[in-house]
Symmetry: C3
Subunit: 422 residues, 3 copies
């Protein structure tokens, strides 16, 4: 046996290191999104994303964590403000060595779990910004982010990881295919439906205007960052490292995570020609994310080839969904709904195949979380639309939010092609 | 209790992992600075920054660490060359298991502390390059970097972390708001004053020429890199992980670090409209850095809301200082002086609020380190100006250092706007 | 002594964390290469590199690891499919606590070593893509990648790290100057010779067409990523962290790694003016990589100044080799052969100076691995050339692979200079 104090250090350090990698995912989303939008809105995406991470980190400290984890009944926890180290920890830091026993009994430093959970909130919020980019007002977006990270996400979290009613039903979602990525995806979908497609995206003749990523290198960098960060996202969700069994389990999680992502890339590239009409780099990149999202709900199977299958199907479904969104005229700028929501639903169901979940409970979780997040988000978006307005003016949208709202350009010295406006 | 050999491994590994993240901050500075300068000087920034990290790493190995940490009297340590593992460590590696006791008694592998301290030196030097970008000669800059990393910074370090006179007075600076960021900031200020503003920055009619970041995405990426790296910078400065108390303390440091940065962003964005006339992304990004710098001197308070206040004030002061520098016609290209020096002074004083420092001692440290670094840097810059020349010719400055000194362009195939020269 | 269960956790966690950093090197290669090619081929490099990492990860899972490590005779291991946790690990995860003894006796979680080795395969394959960029067909390249990662690299690995004939001879290559970087370099050289130089690279009058990096910032970012990742690459190759001796050794490895890279930069910059006619940023960046490659075979010496010398010579040889390749009209787009193959040979020999290898055995390893990889690669490239064709058409090459094969541009809104075609 590993002694308890050693376990405490291992567990705490794992939360910190893996949490740092999850924070890094915010940079990944920022690069992915700012490279995927048109140049005229790229600076705004940068601002929104550093804003998201800041707002999420403060909101989760001030109210979110308490709602999600403290005194959780069935559907939410405490509405107290702020969170902090335990009394025993404070005593230990003040030199009271007799407190070490009760500190260690907690298994990990109290705030190390807070740190790890906090970076997850930011991930959920980051998913939204890409989907509704290029036409949503900055302040309205920040207001939504605040509600999402202070209330909506924590409530979903209280149902599940916080020990609420869905956890009691046996709903399984290891690192959040539905809890994080589904929540982000549903919130994004609600936003996209309320704010509508970008000007000229869907033409009167039924054709779809191509809006390729303005900076492919930056998008690719973003995906690599996300892939790396996902080792923290899934690996850290083992929530412990202090025993050989934990170390083995964490290892298996990382291996499955990587295999699913790799299979997602290959599957998406393989089908992109037939579905999208060309070998599509963007589909391949989204395939990586879809594979990662799909494995996130249950990356614990010891037969690793299942991870390849789950990831590959994730990549396939994501590519199909990219096409479907175009057909149903839903304008998701970066493919967040295909990669996070669609692959997340698949992944949450796939838990029943290899990682031991029960189908009807998984479905219950998907539907109930989906319904709650979608409806709550819809209400918030609608209210914001009435109060502040959601959508920038046509002039701002044509000009781009960078110049119109921020007064800067992303690359002020570079000469850009004039956009066709038709 | 965690056994001593386990403590040794924990402590050593923490130095290595967190140190690796601090090294990553050099990439952050490189991106921040190369995206913030005009395109014509972006390659030169890349070269300077990889040069800084290389020079700093060699100089600190050859003389710096010894001056800072070995046989420190009141104001500096040893002037021996090179540094290396202890005799006991060498014996252990040669298979002498009896040496393990004295190896372990040191608490951490000797060179793991060296590694961690080495990446800090590079940080201090990186701060300088951004402020004086776009007009300083490469070789003169490298010569200054050598002096800074081999002598100036190590002497400051010997006064404080090395156990010299300021440490004996009780000066507190957990991870270097003043020791690292103040040193970098004062050295930068001296350089900026000697070399003067860029051509045309401050016009005869009193107006200031806007020089927006040439690549906003890259600047944003740089800030995210710095934020991530700061977890290593502050977390690793706990200098130990081997006991539950250390693990708790390191956790608290990370939480405070993140809260301060988030609050810095929000505060800077909130005041940017009234101070700078618009919601300013660049102010928000610098606000993150200012929040991080401000918390660096004392990120140990268990009442985490203090971290939000300290970070927010850091972001606020930084935004004000950006404006003030324009008014007093000091041309700091990337805002290094506001973000590192101003926020660093604030952070060093703020230690007295929540982390237990004494005000007059903190002030003594700020003033004495500031005076030493500023005067020493001024002398070195002046000498270099006489010997090698500091400033590129007017032709080089107009043409840009990339083409004039390196014979390349940062983006050779991209069409750029002709710069207005007036 | 550290207890065995603690050792198990330390060793496993080190594989996972350092392995994650090595995965990050794939992002480094992607940035380095996509910034180094001309803009018209940058998206293709992004696609190739995410494809490499995905293919390598799957191929190594399906067959590679078994060939390299399982039941290795003299020249290869098992041809079984798939790999997975041990029976004891599965029992432990199923709650059989009695299995913990045999789990722990393995020293690390079985798949944590797989994870760490898997990211190494991807590195070897990444080296190839840069050298033969801008003219090789995507599908042919992917087919080669599959053979390299499923068979060629694992066979080399079985000779050495797998315990085969070269290991029995006493060949030393700590983290793979020859096993990884030499293998990648020889495979790249074979590819470059078969596919030939880019159109117009070597003109009839003997002059060489300059093809500067299309995005210097991205190249620089790539090098910083690689440098960071190399701490994982070399540090993790200690293969253990669970004892004080391991922790000391890992520390020494990181220190030497950093010193060698720094010295490589400075040496390459210093000689670039005389060899290449200017202070050459690209040479300096490649110097970092060459220094890293050179130290990789033997980063264990306790006299750290040797690392500076080995790294500096690596940077020097790399810069010379860049020039030589131009003279012999070998078109290596990113300098992969100088930085990986040439510096790798030097590093493998340099082991004899300070880290205890025997010269003739090191030479034997270099020659036998070189001959095998070069000939095997040559055969594969030739077969692919006959079956699928290796080289894109002249039209595709002029137009760029991005538009011609992928139907996108890397920066679709940016105005680019028309390329001179002569």
């Amino acid at each position: 046996m590993v002694d308890l104090p050693d376990q405490f250090v291992f567990n705490t350090f794992a939360f910190l290191i893996w949490g740092a990698l999850v924070m890094w995912m915010c940079a990944g989303f920022t690069m992915l999104e700012s490279g995927a939008v048109r140049t005229k809105n790229a600076s705004m995406i940068c601002l929104k994303n550093i804003g998201i991470y800041s707002i999420a980190g403060l909101a989760y400290f001030i109210v979110g964590y308490n709602i999600m984890y403290v005194d959780v009944g069935d559907i939410f926890g405490s509405f107290e403000f702020l969170y902090g180290p335990s009394g025993a920890e404070k005593a230990l830091l003040n030199g009271d060595e007799s407190a070490v026993g009760s500190v260690v009994d907690n298994g990990y430093a109290v705030m190390s779990d807070w740190f790890f959970q906090m970076v997850f909130v930011a991930t959920a919020a980051s998913i939204v910004s890409g989907a509704i980019a290029e036409r949503i007002k900055m302040w309205s977006f920040f207001a939504f982010t605040l509600v999402l990270t202070a209330f909506i996400y924590p409530i979903v979290g209280s149902w599940t990881w916080g020990g609420g009613w869905l956890a009691q039903e046996g709903f399984q979602d290891f690192a959040g295919s539905t809890i994080v990525h589904g929540t982000g995806g549903w919130a994004a979908l609600a936003g996209v439906l309320v704010v509508g497609p970008r000007l000229g995206k869907f033409k009167a003749d039924g054709s779809v205007k191509t809006t390729p990523p303005s900076n492919v290198l930056v998008v690719t960098l973003g995906v690599f960052i996300l892939w790396l960060g996902w080792f923290g996202f899934n690996g850290g969700s083992q929530l412990a490292l202090g025993t050989p069994a934990d170390a083995v389990a964490m290892t298996i999680v990382l291996v499955n995570t990587n295999l699913a992502a790799a299979a997602g890339v290959i599957a998406a590239l393989a089908v992109s020609r037939s579905i999208l009409g060309r070998i599509d780099l963007f589909a391949g990149l989204n395939g990586a994310i879809a594979g990662l999202v799909a494995i996130t709900a249950g990356p614990t199977m010891v037969d690793h080839w299942w991870a390849m299958i789950i990831g590959a199907i994730g990549g396939l479904l994501c590519t199909i969904a990219i096409k479907v969104l175009d057909i149903v005229k839903v304008d998701d700028v970066v493919g967040a709904i295909p990669a996070h929501l669609v692959a997340g639903i698949w992944g949450t169901l796939a838990v029943t195949i290899a990682a031991g979940g029960r189908f009807h409970i998984q479905l219950l979780g998907i539907v109930s979380i989906g319904a709650f997040v979608f409806i709550a988000s819809l209400v918030v978006w609608k209210v914001l639309d009435m109060v502040m307005g959601l959508r920038v003016s046509t002039d701002v949208e044509r000009m781009g939010q960078d110049v119109a709202e921020l007064g800067i350009e992303a690359y002020p010295e570079f000469v850009l092609m004039p956009e066709e406006m038709d």
